[in-house]
Amino acid sequence: MSRRKEDAVILSQEKIAEGIYSMWLKTDAARGAAPGQFISMYSRDGSRLLPRPISICEVGKGKTSLRVVYRVTGENTGTEEFSRMEAGDMVPVIGPLGNGFPLERAEGKRAFLVGGGIGVPPILELAKQMNCEKKQIIVGYRNEETFLKDEFGRNGELYISTEDGSVGTKGNVMDAIRENGLAADVIYACGPTPMLRAVKAYAEEKGIECYLSLEERMACGIGACLACVCRTKEKDHHTNVKNRRICKEGPVFLSTEVEI
């Protein structure tokens, strides 16, 4: 018995784009937290039982605080409840959970750090911690609300795509990579499944080592319920079938290991 659900204290909360909020939490979950890992955040409303898995956007200095940047998924949702909280309020959390991005694979290499939509936030801590030859951050948004843009700009070469063409390349992250003639030896990506499929296809066509952070509906968040599995090429050692637990072995997987 070494872990528990704890009450994290909200240090600050800020709306940074339409429906997108940034929250700093004082929490034990910051200890040992790595880019690509997530925390489970719990509603205080008894009608909402399941944890909301939220990716870690930044780890504070001294590892006593975490930043999460999350999307409000609709009215009367758990994330809307979180968005109404203020500094000093407490929110129950468990974390850090899962396995993050393997940073060491980028040493001495040209890297792509790719984020799309609400998969953008975990790319920030990844960019901050990564040591590589060439750090190319490619992030895709819907429109001109390019949240976290300035922070990315301070942590690497930044390329932006927007669906409406208001900022950077019009289109998606793959369009930005092509338009700017970018090249990489290793890729890290987090975002919606269609984006991850495109990144995976690109990486495998070119034979580039590629790590994808996957998402799926979760219930327990700790590897017990087998809700959040993804299909795998080979039989998994734990499940003994061709799927793996995203919350436990993931959310980051080598692209060639998974079928999405």
Binding site: K5, L50, E216, A219, C220, A224, C225, T239, N240, V241
Partner: protein, 300 residues
């Protein structure tokens, strides 16, 4: 005050176990729960061969609960025996192995394989709403339920708990049927079949279309069914369905359950079982109950 209970000849240190499928084989909860504090650990269902389960999404939240259609994904009995039984044996708790199958032969193969294993009880899942064959096919027809009970009893060395479905007209009739087949205990309720629709995407939320609803929202239904089953049979009843706090567990015991299982609440707080054990103890002290059996079925 003594919290021990005796379920079909097996003594548990307290009346609290976990509902199959919500706790794996305990390994994932080891960091959050002192497994020694549980009366028993009930494992996720295991079949004779590995099962891949259903496509995702497999779960959805519902008001005061959730629904799942995991589809009994499991690593098969070989891996279970090599890995999970030795893990659980490190703890001072009873081991209840939940068994699933697609046919009578499947169930019997697993039960026979477990005969020489160091486990305390078997729970036969004839009530999973999320797999087409097996499971629920045995759990909605009293004659089929009696027959499958008889069949597994031929091979079982450990006491057999038959896990019943709430998706039936008469839970009393189902409980009587498995008792007639030789069940040593019954457990109920499994999840209630439900459906959730995404009105934006205009499709089912779960890939399986339907799923089993669980959680606090279904607790009163579970209490009613436990009460009816406990009045229909002489064998012990293990009550479950929406238990999220000690008070919910105590309701089950007063309704006639000899022990209780905590399920969905483990997803809301992985340490909730310890609070429930403590809360039952506190209630017994407050109310002057010397043993759990003094409480069981007290409401008549």
């Amino acid at each position: 005050m003594n919290m021990k209970v005796n379920i079909a000849g097996i003594e548990w240190k307290n009346p609290v176990t976990v509902a199959s499928g919500t706790f794996g084989s305990g390994a994932e909860f080891e960091e959050f729960v002192d497994l020694n504090r549980l009366g028993a650990v009930t494992t996720k269902g295991v079949a004779n061969v590995p099962w891949e389960g259903n496509p995702t999404p497999r779960v959805a939240e519902t008001y005061g609960g959730m629904m799942n259609a995991v589809g009994l994904q499991n690593p098969g009995i070989d891996v279970f025996c090599e890995r999970d039984i030795p893990f659980l044996r490190r703890y001072d708790t009873r081991i209840i192995v939940n068994v699933c199958g697609r046919s009578a032969e499947d169930y019997c193969e697993v039960v026979e394989r477990l005969a020489d294993e160091d486990v305390d009880m078997l729970e036969i899942n004839i009530s999973c709403p999320n797999v087409k064959e097996g499971g629920i096919a045995f759990g909605q027809n009293p004659k089929a339920a009696e027959e499958i009970t008889k069949a597994v009893k031929k091979y079982a060395r450990q006491p057999v708990i038959m896990k019943l479905s709430p998706n039936v007209t008469s839970i009393a009739e189902m409980a009587k049927a498995v008792e007639a087949g030789g069940a040593d205990a019954v457990s109920l309720i499994n999840t209630i079949t439900g459906m959730k629709i995404d009105i934006r995407r205009k499709t089912f939320v779960l890939a399986n279309r339907t799923g089993g609803v669980s959680g606090p929202a279904i607790h009163p239904i579970a209490v009613r069914m436990v009460y009816e089953a406990a009045h229909a049979v002489k064998v012990p009843v293990i009550g479950m369905g929406g238990i999220a706090k000690a008070e919910d567990a105590i309701e089950m015991l007063l309704a006639g359950a000899s022990a209780v299982s905590v399920g969905t609440a483990n997803f809301h707080d992985p340490a909730v079982t310890m609070e429930i054990v403590d809360g039952i103890g506190a209630y017994m002290k407050e109310q002057g109950f010397g043993t759990v059996s003094e409480m069981v079925g007290i409401i008549g």
